[in-house]
Subunit: 729 residues, 2 copies
Amino acid sequence: MNIPTVFWLVPVASVVALSMAYLFFTQMMKADEGTPRMREIALYVRKGAMAYLRQQYRVVTIVFVVLCALFAFMAYGLHVQNPWVPFAFLTGGFFSGLAGFFGMKTATYASARTANAARESLDAGLKIAFRSGAVMGLTVVGLGLLDIAIWFVVLNQFDADGLISITTTMLTFGMGASTQALFARVGGGIYTKAADVGADIVGKVEADIPEDDPRNPATIADNVGDNVGDVAGMGADLYESYCGSVLSTAALGASAFAASAVDGMQIKAVIAPMIIAAVGVFLSLLGIFLVRTKEGATMRDLLRSLSLGTNISAVLIAIATFAILYLLGIDNWLGLSFSVISGLAAGVIIGQATEYYTSHSYKPTQKISEAGQTGAATVIIKGIGTGMISTCIPVITIGVAIMLSYLCANGFDLSMSSTSLAHGLYGIGIAAVGMLSTLGITLATDAYGPIADNAGGNAEMSSLGEAVRHRTDALDALGNTTAATGKGFAIGSAALTALALLASYIEEIKIAMVRAGQTLTNVSGDVIAASNATIPDFMNYFQVNLMNPKVLVGAFIGAMAAFLFCGMTMEAVGRAAEKMVQEVRRQFREIAGILEGTGTPDYGRCVEISTRAAQHEMIIPSILAIIIPIIVGIVLGVAGVLGLLVGGLAGGFTLAVFMANAGGAWDNAKKNIEEGNFGGKGSFAHKACIVGDTVGDPFKDTSGPSLNILIKLMSMVSIVMAGLTVAFA
Amino acid sequence: MNIPTVFWLVPVASVVALSMAYLFFTQMMKADEGTPRMREIALYVRKGAMAYLRQQYRVVTIVFVVLCALFAFMAYGLHVQNPWVPFAFLTGGFFSGLAGFFGMKTATYASARTANAARESLDAGLKIAFRSGAVMGLTVVGLGLLDIAIWFVVLNQFDADGLISITTTMLTFGMGASTQALFARVGGGIYTKAADVGADIVGKVEADIPEDDPRNPATIADNVGDNVGDVAGMGADLYESYCGSVLSTAALGASAFAASAVDGMQIKAVIAPMIIAAVGVFLSLLGIFLVRTKEGATMRDLLRSLSLGTNISAVLIAIATFAILYLLGIDNWLGLSFSVISGLAAGVIIGQATEYYTSHSYKPTQKISEAGQTGAATVIIKGIGTGMISTCIPVITIGVAIMLSYLCANGFDLSMSSTSLAHGLYGIGIAAVGMLSTLGITLATDAYGPIADNAGGNAEMSSLGEAVRHRTDALDALGNTTAATGKGFAIGSAALTALALLASYIEEIKIAMVRAGQTLTNVSGDVIAASNATIPDFMNYFQVNLMNPKVLVGAFIGAMAAFLFCGMTMEAVGRAAEKMVQEVRRQFREIAGILEGTGTPDYGRCVEISTRAAQHEMIIPSILAIIIPIIVGIVLGVAGVLGLLVGGLAGGFTLAVFMANAGGAWDNAKKNIEEGNFGGKGSFAHKACIVGDTVGDPFKDTSGPSLNILIKLMSMVSIVMAGLTVAFA
């Protein structure tokens, strides 16, 4: 098939993104890493992080080998899957891991340099930290577009079954990325929170020493954790989201425009999300360059500068979408552009709501701080209450965005005819792409937070004094404020992408039926080819209706899977944190002079505890996410799987928002007290809020963010395993 | 229509149950209430409880008047609802309230008497407490069957539209019961937990005085709370479950057997669940009489005696079902009996799983106690983890029970034809009825717990000494152990009943369409009467398929509604508890000599705080449960409502199990420590576990149990409002 020339913008954007990432990296490396003590600490952290990542990749490699063998058997033995699938799966996993690896490498080199720059000025610190964050942002989008472009060209050359087959095969590489991302998020999340919780409980609560104090044996593990969890884990996560949204939308485009009378319309619909993403790269770059301040900038200036960068990118992509879709000449380009607008608007609203419920500038979090005066129990009760209530706005916003992007894309057609449905779903997909298209910059604002945080750790451990620490804290806080919109986009796009994947699942089942030589009976009772089945035909044939007990049981299991997964990761953090607490207590007890600063703690043991815990504990929950859809597919068939995915999506999304926001609110309720409210540091209320913050750690950094991946991974597994379901269910 | 003679067993059972309840009540009243001090305290508690209940009924009355006016307008103004609906709604609410009222009245008279009997022996204490619990159990089933019997006879006389119309109209009285129950559970739950949390935080944690110590100003409020929450709230709740299961199954029977060629088969199917429930009353009575022990019985004997009573009733109802369905001559009586068996088995398994995850005889709870050694944060993390993991077995069990009861009832027919579906759903309904049929005794074992608990409070406040308190504690613990099966039945039947209500919703939409003179297009494209529509026709016409964005948005909102509701009730408890803490602290500070036992605390102020908090805070969450389905119905139509109900059911059920089990596990983790493990009472671990217990209080006694009602109420509201949806959506 002829690929339109404009497609080449995609590899170009990829190369530009990767080149700029490399440029920023070399610039950052030129900066001074500071005193010997600072270098030493940075080296410790870097070594610990790399050591962990090696372990994680070892475990993940085994999983990938097993799954790959399974796919190879499905493709070449059972002939129930496309022969390209095993390879696509591998590259997705590989690139996702690479994105995390590069991001983390950069972060571990940047932290001491940021601390050193912060000795000079706030502005200098921002520059290093933000540019290093941008390395991550650009690497993720660059690698994502590279993988997409390569596979699209290769499959176009060799897969003769047309664009529907090509795009659904490409989803396999989404599954590879999701699998890698889930391990990275879960493993990294357990690592970082075991260390963080352990360090906080003994350090802050029991021994009354500050965060990142070098006397705390868990402090290096804590800083390593920030890198493997908040940087490498997040990198793999957003790589997965980014690719997932583009790939699922491409697949929807292929089926929505399969019957278009206009020549080339189908391929245009397939590449449209890729082009939007590619243009997003350039706009992100523009935004990144806009983030610069003059010497002696105040916090206000910095904030304005950061917001300016992200907001301009977002506004420009909204405008650019109209131009891209118009110039591509896609049917109903205007409607589709409004779909993107509704997605972007939803992201902004979700971001604002998140901000409202989790920032201590607003009532809900302030009330949690206030509850600290009556103890830890009321802090926990209020935090859970706030988190649960905070699900309301995001869910309703996503609901409205789903309806609007659907209706804009199909000309406000509620008939549920096959065409109107397909076009509507394509609109939902493209809205998700719009939300993630400026990931280059939104991820930069997200990733620079942990870098600043680590810089703070480095400053504390190197005893650079209060002023430097204050500056790095300010940078960190700044990141939290600007990251809200980015988080809104990430959460919102996950829901929309997961929804788009439902449609891809149906397409893949049809493909699998054609491959297996199966036909189906349409609603009028005629036997037809699976590829000709309309949605009502499909739903009727597979009895996918809400009174079918299989669908209902599937929905129950889907919602339960989200809880089970969170429960397992919470328990994992709890177990590891307990071990960490006991180890830190043991060191305080057995190694003389630690608390006086004369004895040296054994940092290595704590690093080892986190590493081992993460490595062991990430396996079962992650495998579960892969196995549940396979079992449900075989036992309950297509109807059960669709129930599972809808139950998992509705339950999992809500649970994810709850956990993320409760965790965020607890974190900031504690910070609010540390700023001197309700008794300030060391007060009764402060101790109570530290308990809240500690509980919130795995909520917001382990279980919550993993759920977004889980939801999509379950869909991707179902899609890739469709052949098995068709053959055996 | 001719009502078969066997139906009269239902009113007979009702009268027998109520008479026995009265008999037990008078027997209990004859017992000595103990010392003047004991009488005084019991009077305080009784007055407080009654005062609160009056307030609650006042609020609920307003809500009922408004809803009743709305229904009257729908029935007589818009003609979109059956004219009997407003009256049926009222009686349901009235009887539900009455069940709670009588139960609570009995409990408040029984507590001092139980304490007094416990001065004599464990056995004597058990007798009073258990028989008083039986008053509640028998009142609930007696009033339930009375209301059902009366309405069935009345409507049979006056409603000429046949059994489908009669049974769906009767569901309105289910809605009345659910509305009352939700207010009772939420209001009572907020009341009791505000007092409990407040009393524990200041009393146990800060002032280091024991539970129920008369020096604690919140102690009377706490004891009042046990009565209004755990007794009156639970009574209204189980009244709702009991009636809901019978009524929804009757409605399913009416539609499943509407086209039966055998004369009278339809009415047999309608009364079958009533007959099973009626027979269950007699078997419960048998079980209640079996609970008796000899003088000087040991704990082991008592436990055996209690288990014997409940188990024999459960086994006998299983056997009796075969006989009942065979003698009634229902089609496929054998299959339907096996449906009941699968329901009962599921209830037992869920009960055992609950026991495993929440009893400190097993690992999960022990691990939470152990986590106490590293502080409150790890206790909370582990408890949440355990609660989330504990959702797995109940959800899978319910899934299997749904499939089995469905398939047994329709002869293992997976075709989803209208007949097979209707029969299968009837099987699911009748399984739920089987689980609740022995409610007379299971509720007795449940309700006697709070009575024993209150007796303990009375003993403590009257300074009856350690030995008496030990005995009442033992009785309470005994109740917790035997209540597991009953709880399993209650949770399981809620899920099955909610599922059955989905089908009733579809029936009611059809009725509403017929009433509005609307027709629909079937899958073949022909225009047919709504009453003739098959499930595929219906699903196709209303586009209820899993790719319809309305269904998906509905599912999102359903899951969110469960979280929002829990969040609001959690916050309510948190707010009220904070006020309570401040009040108790104030009294300790301002009233001289309280802690030395020379000053008298102002109990009344604490009672007032709880009363006012419950009264204010119960309104919004409860109203929300009624309004959400109405709005979704009007905005998103039938497809959206079905999505809402499925999302609410899957998400809400899982959330309910999580909250109940996490709360239970925290409670017992604390008790485990109090038995001397991990440092025992007063240790660091104990303080940490008290935080867990306090957080768990609203989990297990406010938010969690209310969810079961919420799920069903949303379905009932949808059913009753179907006319509006048809007219305006």
